[in-house]
Structures are given as C-alpha cells and as structure tokens.
C-alpha cells in the first residue's frame, strides 16, 4: 500500500475498515510525506508522537462505526487544540498553548480522527496568499514560487501534497474556497452557524465559518457531517437536526435550476476563466439542469462592504491581545499603556495592523455612520440580491476566483489588488450562505481553476449533490509531480 496517501479519504476509510491497512501504517505514511515536504512550509507544529499513540490505540481496539475511524488529520492553526500550541500564524500567539479544544476539532476526534499537526495560515486568517504568516509563506505544490492561496493556505497545500487525507479551514471572505481553487481541491464554506465558532481564534465573528477541504465531494460531505452540529457555547450556532450528507449524496440533478449571475463577468478576467465557466454550465445542462440568467446587482459593492465590516469586527476581536493574559508581551515601555502599544506593535504583522487601524477608524466617533452603518446597509442589499435570486433558482454557479495561483511577492505591495482575489467569494460570506469550490480545469500554465456553487442557507446537501454530479462528469485530474521531496 505504498500509494495509500494519494487516495481519497473515503477510499482510505474503506482500507482501514477492511483492514487492508492499519491506522498506524497510515499515520506513518503521512509522517514520512510530511518529513519530505519541509520545503512547502505547510506545518507550524507537528504532533507525530501523539498521532502514533492514537493510531496504536485505534488498532488495538478498532471502532469502525465512526465517520472518521482511525484517520490522522492536520488542521489549520486557527483551531485551538488542547495542550498543543495554537498560533493563528501570528507572533503574538507564538507561545500560546490552549487548555481547551475547539468544538469543531473535538467533533472530529469524537468521530474517530486524531491530530497529525497544525497547518500554517495567514496571520489571524487575514490574507489571500499565506504571505502574512509570521512563520513564512507556504508554497503551493502545483509549482515552486507559487502561493497556495489564503488564508487556509497550509491546509490547501498539505491536502494537495498528500500530507493529510483531508483537512479543515476557516472562511471569512474566501479563505477556504480560494486556496481550494488554487490547489485543485474541494472546499466548502458552510452556512453561517452550521459549524461552531467556539475555540476558533476569532477574526470577524459575523462572517467566520469553519469548513472542510478535501480531495473529493464525497470526502467533503463526510467531513462536514463530522465537524458540524449545534453547540451551546456558540451563541450563533444553529440548532437543527444533524444531516447525513454522505449517505444522502446523489448525482441526479435533473430539473434543478442553476442561476448564472451576469455581474460575475468582471473586467480583465482571463479568457480561460470565462471558458471554464462555460464548460461548467454545459456539464450541468447536459446532466439535465436548467440554466437561468440572474442578476445580483450589488456584487461590485461586496468587497468595499467587506473591508469595512471585517476590519471593524477584527479591531474589536483583536483588542484582547494585550500581553497580559496570554501571548507575547513586550519588555519595552515605561507604563501599562506603553506596554500594550509595544506588545501589539511587536506581536502583529503589517496586514493585521492595517486592518486593526481601518476597523478602529470606521468605528471611531464621527465616522461610524459614514462607514460602518453604511456598510451594514449595503450588506442588507447584498443579502437581498441573493434572497431574490433564490426564489427562482436552486443554486448559483460562478467562477471561484478571478485568476489562478500567482507568484510569491506578486501582489504584496498593493493591498487592494490582493483584496480583489476574493471578489467572487466575499458576497457569500456577507449573506451567510453555503458555497462549494470545485476543481474544474487548468489554465494554460497548467495551474488549477475552480468553479463555485452557492446554495440557499442550510442547503448544503443540494450543492454537494450538484458538485458530486459535476465532479463525475468534469474529467478533472489533479496530477501533481512531487518536486519537493
């Protein structure tokens, strides 16, 4: 079973259940891959000893009734893990060891999985290329010098490079879907409230949502089922019955109505992305879906709205990093205030500081109405666009990103050009909807491109089904040469 690690999660689960491979052998195979992939810089922390112990424990008393029986998983370093360092990609949390476990990771462990390590990400999930991490940028396995997307870039890189059978990320403005698109993998941002935010390092609380990143749509449904669910500790958690996404997965999409929003054809979009979108429409149409032209008129205002709402919430959430209770503390400063100022200046990177300053400004006295209140009103209009469209369609098909993966350093000098990466993903967060990014093709450089399916609130099953049917008929193959080992 030398090639076990390039299989899908569901195939690996079969091998574990049929005892073709033990959890220990599986774990050892991933550890070997991880040790050979240091160049990718996908991991901040590894927990090999703990993983091997857990694998042995599983093999001694296998419980194959669980969704993730005997599966080692690496997760984004934004999820607090009990007694395992959790950094959020920041110097200010460089030495933070939580004494509690996030609900989402706890759900994974309760379903039979165990921790393999913590994955690099943009600092506090603020970035689209993984270049803002204090621990250095992650490399995209698709090609040396290419960014893996962000902020869940360690997650996308590790998944595409076979360093974990599946993983989880968080998505505030596209941080799961854009890196999935850049690495040819599947990424789902669930409905706001479906997965608990408890124990996840907070960025923008009205937008943050954890979700799965996987090699296939079936894997995605298994992971979503394992990680989601009501949590009393998250005041915005939705209390509803758990769904069996993987059991209910079906590829019949006949008669479904797919909306095609005209506003997603933006200026300067590469021709290849337009062609890919056409290909996606054709596939769904051939499968019996009906394509319907729709309009989401406020799309162009989503990013400006996001860059008020998200920094405002971030400036408030990140006020807690004061050098008193946890994290880095500066040794400089003559009094308490100077200690705060120096701690935060030394602990935060440039992008995080920029966003805290934007947020502080838009919330400050005299500017609140002009910026924050205005943004909340436009957010209402953006949500209404989607509400109106979903009276006519079952799901919406768009490109995931306006470009394929770019080179490291290409966009770091111009924050706005970096922000534009999220132009197709951000509206969904503002409206709280679920959206799935699917690998759909390659551009002429051979870099992956993705398509996005947006669903109604809590309609994950439907977009997973459409994605499942699409995947079977798309013919996309992600064959990555392992140049790094």
């Amino acid at each position: 079973m030398s090639n076990i690690t390039n299989q899908s999660l569901s195939e690996i689960l079969e091998s574990i259940k049929s005892k073709k491979i033990s959890s220990l052998e599986l774990t050892q195979a991933y550890i070997k891959n991880i040790e050979n992939a240091k160049k990718l810089n996908a991991f901040v922390t590894t927990t090999f000893d703990q993983a091997l112990e857990n694998a042995k424990k599983f093999d001694n008393e296998p419980n194959n009734e669980q969704l993730l029986s005997g599966i080692p998983l690496a997760v984004k370093d934004l999820f607090c893990t009990e007694n395992v360092k959790t950094t959020a990609g920041s110097n200010i949390l460089n030495n933070f060891i939580p004494s509690y476990e996030s609900t989402v990771t706890k759900n994974l462990w309760n379903n039979g999985a165990f921790l393999l390590g913590k994955l690099n990400c943009d600092e506090f999930a603020m970035g689209s290329s993984n270049e803002t991490s204090f621990f250095g940028n992650v490399i995209n396995p698709i090609g040396d010098r290419l960014v893996p997307g962000g902020s869940s870039g360690g997650s996308s890189s590790a998944l595409a490079a076979d360093l974990t059978p599946a993983t989880i990320g968080t998505d505030t403005g596209g941080s799961i879907r854009q890196p999935a698109s850049f690495t040819g993998t599947v990424g789902l941002k669930p409905t706001y409230g479906l997965c608990s935010r408890w124990g996840i390092v907070a960025f923008a609380s009205s937008l943050d949502q954890a979700g799965p990143m996987t090699k296939t749509v079936n894997d995605c449904s298994i992971m979503l089922e394992a990680m989601s669910g009501f949590d009393d500790k998250d005041s915005t958690s939705i209390n509803k019955k758990k769904e069996s996404y993987s059991k209910n997965l079906k590829d019949n999409i006949k008669g479904l109505k797919i909306g095609i929003p005209k506003e997603y054809r933006v200026d300067n979009m590469p021709k290849e992305i337009d062609e890919l979108w056409e290909k996606g429409k054709r596939i769904l149409k051939d499968l019996g879906a009906q394509l319907i032209d729709i309009s989401l008129p406020h799309t162009k205002y989503a990013l400006p709205t996001y860059y008020i709402v998200a920094p405002a919430e971030a400036s408030s959430n990140l006020a807690r990093y004061d050098g008193v209770r946890y994290g880095h503390r500066s040794q400089k400063g003559k009094d308490l205030i100077e200690m705060y100022e120096n701690t935060r200046s030394e602990g935060f990177g440039d992008e995080v500081k920029r966003r805290i300053l934007i947020g502080t400004y838009v919330l400050s006295s005299g500017y609140y109405d002009a910026y924050y209140l205005k943004a909340q009103k436009v957010r209402q209009l953006i949500k209404k666009d989607f509400d109106d469209s979903f009276t006519k369609v079952d799901a919406i098909l768009t490109p995931s990103t306006p470009s394929s993966a770019f080179k490291i350093g290409e966009k770091t000098n111009d924050p706005v050009s970096m922000y534009l990466n999220d132009i197709f993903t951000v509206p969904v967060n503002l409206a709280g909807l679920p959206a799935l990014s699917l690998p759909a093709g390659l551009d002429k450089q051979g870099y992956p491109l993705g398509l996005q399916l947006v669903g109604k609130a809590l309609d994950e099953q439907k977009i997973l089904n459409i994605g499942y049917a699409f995947e079977k008929n798309c013919g996309y193959k992600n064959e990555i040469k392992k140049w790094w080992s």
């Binding site: 030495n95 060891i97 004494s99 706001y192 409230g193 009205s206 005041s235 915005t236 939705i238 209390n239 406020h298 162009k300 205002y301 990013l303 400006p304 709205t305 860059y307 008020i308 006020a319 004061d322 050098g323 008193v324 209770r325 946890y326 994290g327 880095h328 503390r329 003559k334 308490l336 100077e338 200690m339 705060y340 100022e341 120096n342 935060r344 200046s345 935060f348 500081k353 920029r354 805290i356 300053l357 934007i358 502080t360 400004y361 400050s364 910026y371 205005k374 943004a375 909340q376 009103k377 436009v378 209402q380 209009l381 949500k383 111009d414 924050p415 706005v416 922000y419 409206a431 709280g432």
Partner: protein, 95 residues
C-alpha cells in the same frame, strides 16, 4: 476623504499600537488606497435601507444564569507572560 499622518497616528493611539515613524508614510499610502476603494459605497443611496445586524433568522438564545464551570485558575493563568500564584501581573498603574 484622505487620511493624513496625524490622523493615522491618532487612530493607532486609539488601537494601542505604536507605529514606527519610518513606516508612517507607507502606511498612509496603503490606507488611503484602501479607503478610496471602500468609498465606492457612496455611489449607493441607502437612505431607506435597514442596516443588517444579524445574518441569522433567529434571535440570540438566552440561557439559565447558572455556573457551568470554575475552579480553573491555574489553567487560566497558565499562558500569562507574567503572573504570581493568583493574579496576572502588569506594570505598576497607581503610584
């Protein structure tokens, strides 16, 4: 609207982040380009629009006012950069 260096230093003070004098120029440039981008919103008339304050169709739950955990002082103090047996320690505030 443009942000000048003094304004940025004031906002940094409010955010409790000391800003390196050498970086103020580039920060001013970056923030102004971001605000120029943000201010596209002014094209829209939103006079009759209600602000969106929650994306959920449900109101926040209330819970019983009872203690669900406690006696975890050690755990809470564990990550503090400076502490004694019972408290977080900060630079002297009152002379």
């Amino acid at each position: 609207m443009s942000l000048d260096k003094e304004k940025i230093k004031h906002v940094a003070k409010l955010a409790r982040i000391s800003v390196d004098e050498a970086k103020v120029d580039s920060l001013t440039k970056d923030l102004n380009s971001i605000f120029k981008f943000i201010e596209q919103l002014n094209e829209l008339n939103t006079d009759k629009v209600e602000p969106l304050t929650s994306i959920l169709n449900q109101s926040l739950r209330s819970r019983k006012d009872e203690i669900s955990d406690g006696k975890i002082r050690e755990k809470i103090l564990k990550n503090s950069p400076k502490k004694n047996e019972e408290f977080f320690v900060v630079p002297k505030v009152v002379e």
